[in-house]
């Protein structure tokens, strides 16, 4: 399946993946981030309950330097 993450398409095995698994695969487990799935924010408390499927649009954001 293909998932759009931060504007680029990524391929994954299988039909679905939990948000938690995705974060682990992206090496982000130790980072602070927030996730949006198809425009809806996913609470960090429910990462293992939320599934991503083919065609989903995911945004993963963090804090960077700014004025």
């Amino acid at each position: 399946m293909k998932i759009n993450i931060n504007g680029s398409i990524k391929e994954f095995e299988g039909q679905k993946i939990t948000a938690e698994e995705l974060i682990t695969q992206l090496n982000l487990s130790d980072k602070r981030f927030a996730i949006e799935k198809n425009g809806e924010i996913i609470s960090k408390n429910y990462l293992s309950d939320i599934y991503f499927n083919d065609g989903d649009k995911i945004e993963i954001i963090g804090a960077v330097g700014g004025g």
Partner: protein, 267 residues
Amino acid sequence: MGDKILNINDKLVIAGRSFQSRLLVGTGKYTDFEQTRSAIDSSEAQIVTVAIRRINLGQSPNEPSLLQFLPTNKFTYLPNTAGCYSADEAIRTLRLARELLDGHNLVKLEVLGDPDTLFPNVVETINAAKILVKEGFDVMVYTSDDPIIAKQLEDIGCCAIMPLASLIGSGMGILNPWNLEIIIDKANVPVIVDAGVGTASDASIAMELGCDGVLMNTAIALAKKPILMASAMKKAVESGREAFIAGRMDKKLYNASPSSPIKGLIK
């Protein structure tokens, strides 16, 4: 802020949070995180603005992050909406920021209207502010130096009004002190000059006008020696505040009285 009696020990209070420092600083445009942290330490600022952006997915797990250099238990984060050109974009960004920062609801709203000048779009800013305040955000709002818009933003429930002194990143200083003075005079929430400060005297002038604080980024980050400039800005904000509370002498074109006695002149 009306006829309130001011004291030099008064803290800056924003939405119930108290701050010793009246200098707020951005975290952009520095060479690296070490320089960012050193400059902010030198400024003694307690509130730091940050931008919300897509995480770089290619990064290694050990790559340093801003949050490591500026821990959230030591600094008050002010996530901003820089780069947003509509109310919808700004609201979306700040909802994500609140999730990122575990419910932290103090934010800087900034909706731009033009990529060349970075002038704020006050219509979109007002639209966004209404929704964000309803959703429980404490909104510090970047705006033009229009006193009517400033008052409307306060009436909506914004916890601090942050008019520009001149355009973002311009370093042009305080271009319209008269408008700022009207905004300050009419406001019942803190007024913080945001954008346009170029050097220490600009920050002092803002504080001498009666601003409650000054927010800057480029003036420190793009100084030849950012850490030294950060220290200069800290002193400038403090001295401007002291001068404002001390109350300056009246100006007069001539007929000034000499400081040394006239009596007893040697003849």
